[in-house]
């Protein structure tokens, strides 16, 4: 055991010697993403965040490299290791919760490179790992409240990828948001079992509409299909992760946008001060890492605007808790209750 540690130490020292050569005043970040940087969803949110940081700090002070579409989990290990070992980057970002175990391993080997990964609140107890998450239940709740006010058919459809992570968090928050306005409104939830199957996601949206939904929402990169279906059928759309304004045309209502630049700037400052990690960040409405944006084409009434502002204020102040008692199994139970109501109809 000690021998292995020693080897790592020697290696790290030897490597640190060469690494310092590459560094100048530029802060360099490398980021790995599971889908395309322009997917209008999760990966794009990080790319936009990095771009925003660069605009803020200037290209002479901040540069970043990305590898996108790395959905093969093991490929991530190759890229992340290559970046960490190159010594060219002060911060290596693994943007996807599936990359966590890889970060855990690399961080113990490359102790003077700072790593960041998400979305998860877990730094593995290491001093050179930041982790980040988004309270996507907050935006989900907000969207749910608005959707509940806008629905006339009293049926709302949600298309999600697989029933885990951010997608599930958003779905639970959304359902609770709707229920807070009127528990009798149906929220039909379909997880299609894939992040990328656009045809199936499209047909899931059509099925929602056929079952009376006049509002749709959803997460992950395959929602471009449901957005198109919503457009075709003139049904309203609520989105998450990135702005889908460009695609949604006049059926978009509101988008929950992840502003990763908020936490990236803070991370960069800390790394500059020598703090390589050990903390986790959560984007919330309160710290303005989550921003609710209305679609440009959506004409919002004063009444609804008041509801929107009230909801955000409530979530920020802690008066509204999007998913009560997240720590235990309550969230799951409440979901089961929802299911029960649906099948009674």
């Amino acid at each position: 055991m000690k021998k292995r540690l020693l080897i790592i130490l020697v290696f790290v020292l030897a490597w640190a010697g060469t690494a310092s050569l590459a560094q100048d005043d530029v802060f360099r970040v490398a980021a790995l993403m599971p889908s395309a940087i322009n997917d209008l969803a999760f990966s794009q949110s990080m790319y936009d965040g990095l771009t925003a940081v660069q605009n803020e700090l200037g290209a002479e002070a901040f540069q970043f490299d990305v590898q996108d579409s790395t959905y093969i989990v093991d490929d991530a290990a190759v890229a992340l290791r290559d970046w960490a070992a190159s010594g060219d980057y002060q911060l290596v970002i693994a943007h996807g919760s599936q990359y966590g175990p890889i970060v855990e391993e690399l961080a113990s080997e490359f102790t003077d490179v700072s790593f960041a990964w998400g979305t998860r609140q877990d730094t593995f107890g290491m001093d050179n790992v930041y982790s980040y998450a988004a309270a996507s239940d907050e935006g989900g709740y907000f969207n749910g409240v608005l959707a509940a006010h806008l629905t006339e058919s009293r049926v709302i459809g949600l298309v999600g990828p697989i029933e885990v992570g951010d997608g599930k968090l958003y779905a639970d928050g959304f359902a609770n948001g709707v229920a807070s306005v009127d528990p009798d409104i149906d929220v039909n939830i379909v997880f299609i079992g894939s992040f990328s199957d656009v045809p199936l996601a499209t047909e899931a949206a059509e099925t929602h509409i056929a079952n009376g939904a006049d509002i749709l929402t959803g997460t992950a990169q395959m929602v471009v299909g449901p957005i198109a279906a919503a457009k075709e059928n003139d049904v309203l759309w609520f989105g998450s992760d990135s702005s889908q304004d460009e695609l949604s045309g006049d059926i978009g209502v509101a988008f929950q946008i992840y502003k990763w630049d908020v936490l990236l700037l803070d991370m960069i400052r800390k790394i500059g001060e020598g703090d390589l990690g050990g903390e986790y960040y959560v984007l919330t409405l309160e710290n303005e890492g989550l921003v609710m944006e209305f679609d440009q084409d959506f004409e919002i009434s004063d009444e609804l605007m008041a509801v929107a502002e009230e909801t955000i204020a409530g979530i920020v102040s802690g008066e509204i808790v999007p998913i009560p008692a997240m720590d235990d199994d309550m969230a799951e139970e409440s979901e089961e209750e929802d299911d029960g109501e649906d099948s009674e109809d």
Binding site: V73, D75, V78, A79, S97, A133, V164, D172
Partner: protein, 389 residues
């Protein structure tokens, strides 16, 4: 073969130029990413390992006249069984305080997991063979369908009973708990230099297992009567039947073995590399498409397990190098997908020229003749020797 590669690279160069990238720089980056440094070479071999396992299995299936497109599903089946066994035995045989003990190795856990993975993959592959033999269900159809079923089964189990207890919150990632150290395949290093070559890389013993098995399967196919029977069925079902070979049983058996090797690929990925089974919900998220790449490697290797070794290494390097190219030059990885496709097409197309040369010598009709024609009719004409070098 070489001409085909050069041709593919020429087309790639045109595409690169269209993307305003310097092709020479791009290939240099690719080479660096695939074989430039110790770690790059190791990653190439790491990538090649599952491709080789699958490739060996595909070789057996194709030699037996079965088109097995089910490598992905069989890998998943193997990984699911293997990780379950490793987790259970790990809990039984290793006290919690020793779970992370460095350098621990438990032969029983590892062996049982590998065998379990092999058997699970074999049964999953054998199912397609069974359906083909007794219900005339085409194996292309059934294996494509079984791939999708396996993925959903994996998602179900990883979100259910196999879910890492530490993940049992709301925001869970579909993955199992981490294996105890004793259940992991050790890393591999060569006693060259100091520190040893590959000592600081992810290279693991899975590679050695695969290479040894490749040799064993070569001997099996060409030096044993069982292997002969498999090849005989692949070459001519009717004649084999006349010769007293139980064709149905051989079909099942070759799919059983093919599935078993894909299963090994899956369990070795878990035991040797990731130390847990995890996915992003898509098939390739876990398998890395090795189930498909293995088919390509098998055919490049001339449907010979020994030939599959360099073929797998070549494809491993291509895939790993492509990533480097993307990082260095910002060239989209999709370009490499397209070029890989071209390489495959060009290389299989160039076989006709190799064939014409070899025809002047007496050609040995080694390649299965009715590959994929399951109708059971005799080849009613002189079959073209798809002879592969």
């Amino acid at each position: 073969m070489i001409v085909a590669l050069v041709l593919a690279l020429l087309v790639a160069s045109v595409l690169l130029l269209a993307l305003n990238a310097n092709p020479l720089e791009a290939y240099a980056a690719m080479w660096e990413g695939a074989a430039g440094k110790e770690n790059a070479t190791a990653e190439t071999l790491v990538k090649a390992t599952p491709i080789l396992f699958v490739g060996i299995g595909i070789t057996i299936a194709f030699r037996g006249g079965m088109i097995n497109i089910g490598g992905e599903g069989q890998m998943i089946a193997g990984a699911l069984a293997g990780v379950t066994i490793a987790l259970i035995l790990g809990e039984m045989r290793v006290p919690p305080e020793l779970a992370k003990e460095k350098g621990a190795f438990d032969l029983i856990i590892v062996t049982c997991s590998l065998i379990g993975g092999f058997l699970a993959g074999a049964l999953y592959g054998g199912l397609a063979g069974f359906l083909k033999a007794y219900f005339d269900v085409n194996e292309i159809l059934s294996t494509i369908m079984l791939n999708q079923i396996a993925v959903q089964m994996m998602n179900f189990l990883l979100n259910g009973i196999l879910l890492d207890p530490a993940e049992a919150g709301v925001n869970n990632i579909p993955k199992t708990a981490r294996l105890v150290t004793a259940a992991q395949l050790p890393r591999l290093s060569l006693p060259i230099g100091d520190p040893h070559l590959f000592a600081r890389t992810r290279l693991h013993w899975g590679l050695i297992i695969a290479i040894v098995l490749a040799v064993i399967i070569y001997i099996f196919l060409w030096r044993t009567s069982l292997g002969y029977r498999i090849r005989a069925v692949g070459e001519n079902q009717r004649a084999s039947s006349y010769a007293g070979i139980n064709v149905k049983r051989q079909m099942m058996f070759s799919m059983f073995l093919a599935g078993g090797f894909a299963g090994l690929a899956g369990v070795v990925q878990v035991l040797g590399l990731q130390y847990r089974l995890q996915t992003d919900g898509s098939p390739a998220g876990f398998t890395g498409a090795a189930g498909f790449n293995g088919i390509v490697a098998a055919l490049f290797g001339g449907l010979n397990p020994i030939g599959a070794i360099p073929a797998a290494a070549f494809f491993g390097g291509l895939l790993v190098g492509a990533q480097k190219m993307q990082r260095e030059l910002g060239v989209p990885a999709s370009l490499i997908t397209a070029v890989n496709g071209l390489i495959v097409v060009f290389v299989v197309s160039s076989e006709i020229f190799i064939l014409q040369r070899s025809k002047r010598r007496v050609s040995l009709q080694e390649t299965p003749d009715n590959l994929g024609s399951g109708g059971g009719k005799p080849a009613d004409r002189a079959s073209p020797d798809e002879g592969s070098g």
